[in-house]
């Protein structure tokens, strides 16, 4: 390196030093420590006590609630995530039409996703109240006797999915951006060949925006696994463990049951599962994700 390069390097590091220190102290160090804690019994008020693989063994072999929380989380993954991906996409297609006042429509649909999570959770608890809430009131206009929603073990998770769908505006904006990126010539060429609406969708739109679908899928998986703020406020894990999600169970273990070591083990298992799923999706992505910038 020349003297100039060395000087510039030094200044560069100096400028990013605050951020770098923050990253090391507040992110890297806790991550490393949590890995260590996952092999200990750590109640926070006492020193960590080495227990080797006991936490992992107990989680996988004995802890029924661990498996229930995974089951609940995969339910959200299997039902909630596809619904939110499809809803976001449909919404984006609708909002891509050239209609007057579209900017206002887009803003309205985007707003819910930036509201504070706790406030929207409390709002929806009231909307879903089986006796006084608006949801069942509206259903009753159509003669439908609404279910117990958050008070009923069978309907609590669907209620939470609906709650999450209200915030689909965030993903929608990204879809919108990518939809507008699809070259018009492709549509025109397809119309010349006699393609109809549905065929245009499947053969042009979807492939061209597949990178964004891919991105939203990965982010959605990571987000769903960590889903717990709304549940903590709305149901606390009930009724009858039907909304005890992985993130929530982890929280209880760490901060209410004096088992930070156990919770750390849960965190690392979560990391492993998320990593495996992400790798799997990346590996299969070559089959359906099309980066139109690659073929020039």
């Amino acid at each position: 390196m020349t003297r100039l390069e060395k000087g510039e390097l030094r200044w560069g590091i100096f400028f990013i030093l605050p951020w770098l220190l923050g990253l090391i102290i507040f992110t890297a160090y806790p991550i490393v420590m949590s890995f260590y804690y996952s092999f200990t019994d750590y109640s926070i008020v006492q020193e960590p006590f080495w227990v080797g693989l006991d936490n992992y063994k107990t989680l996988i072999r004995i802890d029924a609630i661990f498996w229930k929380s995974l089951e609940n989380t995969f339910y959200m993954l299997g039902l909630g995530l596809p619904l939110s991906l499809i809803a976001g996409l449909l919404l984006a297609i609708l909002l891509n039409m050239k209609v007057k006042g579209m900017a206002i429509h887009r803003t309205i649909f985007y707003l819910p996703s930036i509201l504070p999570e706790v406030a929207t959770a409390i709002l929806w608890v009231w909307l879903f109240n089986p006796q006084y809430g608006l949801v069942n009131a509206i259903l009753s206009w159509f003669g439908i006797n609404g279910p117990g929603w958050l008070a009923d073990p069978t309907w609590a998770k669907p209620a939470l999915i609906l709650m999450g769908l209200w915030g689909v505006g965030g993903g929608m904006i990204i879809y919108l951006a990518s939809l507008q990126d699809v070259p018009q010539e492709l549509y025109e060429a397809a119309e010349l060949d006699g393609a109809r609406g549905w065929q245009k969708m499947v053969h042009i739109t979807l492939p061209m925006i597949s990178p964004v679908i891919f991105f939203n899928l990965i982010m959605g998986i990571i987000g769903t696994f960590q889903f717990s703020v709304q549940t903590f406020v709305a149901t606390g894990g009930g009724p009858a463990y039907s909304t005890m999600f992985y993130g929530l169970y982890l929280y209880y273990n760490a901060f209410q049951w004096w088992k930070m070591g156990y919770a750390s083990a849960m965190a690392w298992i979560l990391f492993l599962i998320t990593l495996l799923m992400t790798i799997l999706i990346f590996k299969t992505s070559a089959g359906w994700v099309y980066y139109h910038t690659e073929s020039k």
């Binding site: 019994d41 109240n129 006084y132 279910p147 117990g148 008070a151 073990p153 009724p239 209880y252 209410q256």
Partner: protein, 428 residues
């Protein structure tokens, strides 16, 4: 010349400021985290200010509220900056903290300052202890019972002078007092017993065998209690019940369901006197002890805030002085009257002024003195145990598990947790 004057002035300022900090350094400042909030917090601060801060020249107490933020204490202890005194600890949480060495035993202080355990309610004094050591004192306690709305009871054709004597009569009253609308939704709730930890005890069972360190959630009497809780499903559909209760006002607010006329009966402690005065002075209520299957009504569940000293406190002696003061007769009496709670000291509880301010003590003092007075389970994995029990109750009420099965599962899981905890404590 001007430089010299400047130098002199600066030196003078320096000297004066040094002396003034020395003067302040004489008073030791201690921090007290309390669980009380709202108007009770204001009353408490006033009592502490007038009775302790102004009267003592060596210690000053700063009262901070931590309304429902138990995790704050954890973080503070872990971070090495705990408060010097904390009372946001319930009797049931004492064991968890003591077993993990988070709070300081007070036996030496008690011996040194000659605090007599016989001055306090015997069972309450027991609840201050874990593993034979005293870890807390209390300035207040509460005994619980069931209260009913006299007008509603009369309107339903029942006799307010003869409240339910046993579980069968309670069921009967609850059913007659519940009103539905034409869509089958609950308009007014008569009563629904809840809390298997409480009702298991009322049915004569025990949730924890302390001597043998055995979890006994599947004790036959506890299973019986669970069946009783389940039986209310016959007229209270669980979903409709959950819908109704989730829309009720906060218990600790002017929208309190009992005082707002949404419930005909509800459980309370001595604080009902204060609630009545504040939230609905016109509501006529009366009280009766918890019912049991046998018809013997001498049971009560008691408990309250425990004043403890976290291990990391840097002013333990001063913290003790504060705890000693607040659990002494005079402040205890003032707090009891302000909050309408039961005083932990027997003599203070029987003081005519206290009895006049809190009429319900006429019912609760005999229960505490001679009756079947118990406190909630106190053991090191209590928090997880209670979460499991309430989930089990929820599963039973929602028809997902049978009572015995649900309680068996809880017993197995929590026994395993407790065994693991105790085994590891040995090795530490």
């Amino acid at each position: 010349m001007s430089k010299r004057i400047l130098g002199l002035v600066l030196t003078l300022v320096f000297i004066i400021s040094t002396f003034s900090t020395l003067a302040y350094a004489e008073k030791v400042k201690i921090v007290y985290w309390t669980g009380w909030g709202g108007s009770e917090l204001e009353d408490l601060k006033k009592i502490i200010d007038e009775g302790f801060n102004k009267k003592r020249s060596d210690i000053e107490v700063e009262t901070v509220t931590t309304f429902g933020a138990y995790e704050k204490l954890l973080a503070a202890i872990a971070g090495g900056t705990p408060p010097d005194v904390v009372s946001a600890v319930w009797d049931s949480q004492l064991a968890s903290l003591a077993a993990r060495g988070a709070i300081v035993p007070l036996d030496n202080y008690i011996r040194k300052d000659k605090i007599h355990s016989s001055d306090f309610w015997p069972r309450l004094w027991q609840s201050f202890q874990y593993d034979g050591k005293v870890y807390a004192l209390a300035a207040t306690t509460n005994c619980q019972f069931t209260a009913f709305n006299v007008d509603m009871v009369q309107a339903a054709g029942l006799n307010p002078k003869t409240p339910p004597k046993n579980t069968k009569e309670l069921y009967d009253w609850a059913q007659k007092l519940t009103k539905f609308d034409d869509r089958g939704n609950i308009q007014i709730l008569g009563y629904r017993p809840s809390g298997i930890a409480l009702w298991g005890r009322l049915f004569g069972g025990k949730l924890y065998d302390e001597k043998n360190k055995k979890i006994t959630a599947n004790d036959p009497k506890v299973v019986e209690a669970m069946e009783y809780l389940l039986s209310y499903n016959k007229f209270l559909d669980p979903t409709k019940y959950a819908a109704f209760t989730s829309a009720l006002g906060n218990y600790w607010s002017p929208e309190n369901p009992f005082f707002a006329g949404k419930m005909a009966m509800q459980d309370y402690g001595e604080w009902i006197v204060q609630f009545g005065k504040k939230y609905n002075p016109k509501l006529k209520y009366d009280i009766f002890p918890y019912v049991t299957p046998t018809g013997i009504r001498n049971s009560t569940q008691f408990g309250g805030s425990m004043f403890c000293i976290p291990v990391g406190s840097k002013h333990k002696d001063e913290a003790w002085e504060f705890i000693k003061w607040i659990s002494s007769p005079e402040p205890m009496k003032k707090i009891a009257i302000a909050f309408t709670n039961m005083p932990p000291r027997i003599a203070v509880a029987k003081d005519p002024e206290v009895l006049e301010a809190i009429p319900v003590l006429k019912l609760t003092i005999p229960l505490m003195e001679k009756g079947n007075a118990f406190t909630s389970v106190s053991m090191p994995v209590w928090e997880q145990y209670m979460t499991e029990l309430s989930a089990a109750e929820s599963m039973v009420i929602n028809g997902q598990k049978k009572p015995k099965e649900a309680l068996d599962d809880v017993t197995t899981r929590i026994q395993q947790e407790l065994d693991t905890f105790l085994a590891r404590q040995q090795k530490k």
